[in-house]
């Protein structure tokens, strides 16, 4: 492998690492794990293109915009990156989103033609809260599973929390993610700080734990609904991709949106797609 090639691969790897830090706000899972990111390419001028697709053509435009914008920010934070260009494919407002993110427009301006309007900050905050609560529920239930009583959980500090080892893979994965939000939101920082507080920083009183958990469960049920639907729908979309291409190519579809734009080999849309990947 040439030194140049090696350096190129390293850069591509760094981009993937950054992308792994971007989550789907509705699902609280990294976009890379969800399989949304299809292709990363770095050209000789250190401009990065990230091609991504969502489970359906109809996925919420606001979430699509958020993810594209988060990808741009995350990748741009690499010192060598000259420009990061997320390219959403096969989506009802792909063009508007790609242009908007590229030009640093607000969501409201980017999708003005669709009367969407509004800033996304509120939405971002709302989903930050949901992510926090979902991660927190995992930790509280895991602690209960280890035999911790509610009062002990309510008064547990960060130092104690850090020292606990969890057996379950999912819990072990969520632990640093929960902690990361505690620190990011300045809810807990020092070992003596309580590890379990509300998203607004209020203590969770032990007699309120049952109703508090009931609410967290509601948050989780909603997110899981989205999550399993999205995964299922994405799997179907990719399965179509992997399907019999020859047969698909015979289908009369060219230049249209989703599946067929990618599937139908030789269609104008496919050429466009391929060249974008090249």
């Amino acid at each position: 492998m040439s030194a140049l090639q090696h350096q190129h691969d390293r850069k591509t790897g760094e981009v993937w690492e950054r992308l792994a830090m971007v989550t789907d706000p509705e699902l609280d899972e990294p976009v890379t794990e969800l399989g949304f990111v299809e292709q990363v390419s770095v050209d000789h001028d250190d401009r990065v293109e990230i091609v991504f697709r969502l489970p359906t053509y109809w996925c919420s435009a606001n979430f699509a915009f958020l993810m594209a914008d988060d990808m741009r920010r995350a990748v741009s934070s690499l010192p060598w990156v000259r420009e990061a260009r997320p390219q959403l494919r096969d989506h009802m407002v792909a063009d508007e989103i790609n242009k908007g993110v590229r030009e640093g427009m607000s969501f409201g301006d980017a999708l003005k033609g669709f009367a969407a309007g509004g800033s996304l900050d509120e939405l971002r905050e709302k989903f930050r809260r949901k992510a926090f609560e979902r991660r927190q529920e995992v930790m509280i239930l895991a602690l209960r599973g280890l035999g911790y009583e509610d009062p002990a959980i309510c008064r547990m500090n960060l130092g104690t929390f850090d020292a606990i080892t969890f057996g379950s893979e999912d819990v072990a994965r969520q632990k640093p993610r929960y902690r990361e939000l505690l620190v990011e939101r300045r809810l807990a920082d020092h070992p003596a700080d309580p590890a379990f507080v509300t998203f607004d920083g209020a203590p969770i009183k032990r007699h309120e734990m049952v109703s508090y958990l009931q609410r967290l469960r509601g948050v989780r049920i909603n997110m899981e609904f989205n999550s399993s639907l999205c995964r299922g729908l994405l799997a179907v979309r990719y399965r179509e991709l992997d399907g019999d291409r020859a047969q698909q190519a015979a289908a009369p579809c060219g230049g249209c949106g989703s599946g067929c734009a990618v599937r139908s080999v030789g269609s104008p849309a496919m050429d466009k797609h391929s060249s974008a990947l090249a």
């Binding site: 053509y57 939405l123 909603n222 989205n226 639907l229 949106g257």
Partner: protein, 340 residues
Amino acid sequence: MFITPSGEEVFVIDGHTHFWDGSPANQLNVHGKQFIDCFYAYHTSLSPKDRLWPKEQFEKYSADQMYHDLFVDGPDDMAVVQSTYLTEFYKNGFNTIDRNAEMAKKYKDRFIVNGAFDPRDGEKALEYIHYMRETFGIKGVKLYTAEWKGDSRGWKLTDPNAYRCLELCQKLGIINIHVHKGPTIIPLDKDAFDVHDVDHAATDFQGLNFIIEHCGLPRLDDFCWIAVQETNVYGGLAVALPFIHGRPRYFAEVISELLFWVGEDKILFGSDYAIWTPRWLVEKFWNFELPEDLKQEHGVDLTPEAKRKILGLNAARLYGVDIEAQKAKLAQQVRATAAE
């Protein structure tokens, strides 16, 4: 009729079915294609493998096929067939009331045909409600608040024009208002399927029943909260129920929440045909038992009595179906067909 393993009869009203034409010939644009593709993805990702349909059949199926899937192979005794226009996506609409009524005419006493209106049509919407009531005698409508129209990407039940339509419905006896509040298929604005508008409308129209299709998922908590406050708010199980196959534990959690907050008298079965077919759904639902930990935690149970209510009794109450009389009519028909 569903016959339980122990031989009891359970009367089934399928609260949510469609007779659509999503075929390429009827598609007006890429949105029409993407819309039916998305439905097909739902079908594919949540159905058991042996219940999968070929794409072409899914895009457009015959009336006979529907009859067979619901009433012959399937356990339905009656079905509510909903109307969804989507005229911006489909040349002749996706499933208009005319198409539905034409189909239903062939199969006496089987279908309850519901209409639809779009309050953004203003006066025309009011005229259309009159037309549907006079022509088809509708008792219910299905509303799709996220439907595109011109530059608009959705509407709310609380819009002044919507209130005028609801007033008219109440006056004419169109009392069952099914509202699609479900997965975000077409919301371009912040949250076109947000459920809060139901709260206000349900308070202001006590003579109407609001059946929230898909239970507002993924806004189940909001929906539950509203259903607790409002006695005339119901939950339709379409989309939630298919999880019983691939993710039974998840379904158990959802139905526990619903039983706890909304109660067994206010939950309605719906297959969402042709996204899913009713036979496997009803069979699995009847055989389903809540895990012990959820029973304990919520203090609820999915008893056979609760299942009967959800599968048919609740919808019968809403639509004024006399089950014994209906059974007799259907039995008569079966005898007549057999004699032919």
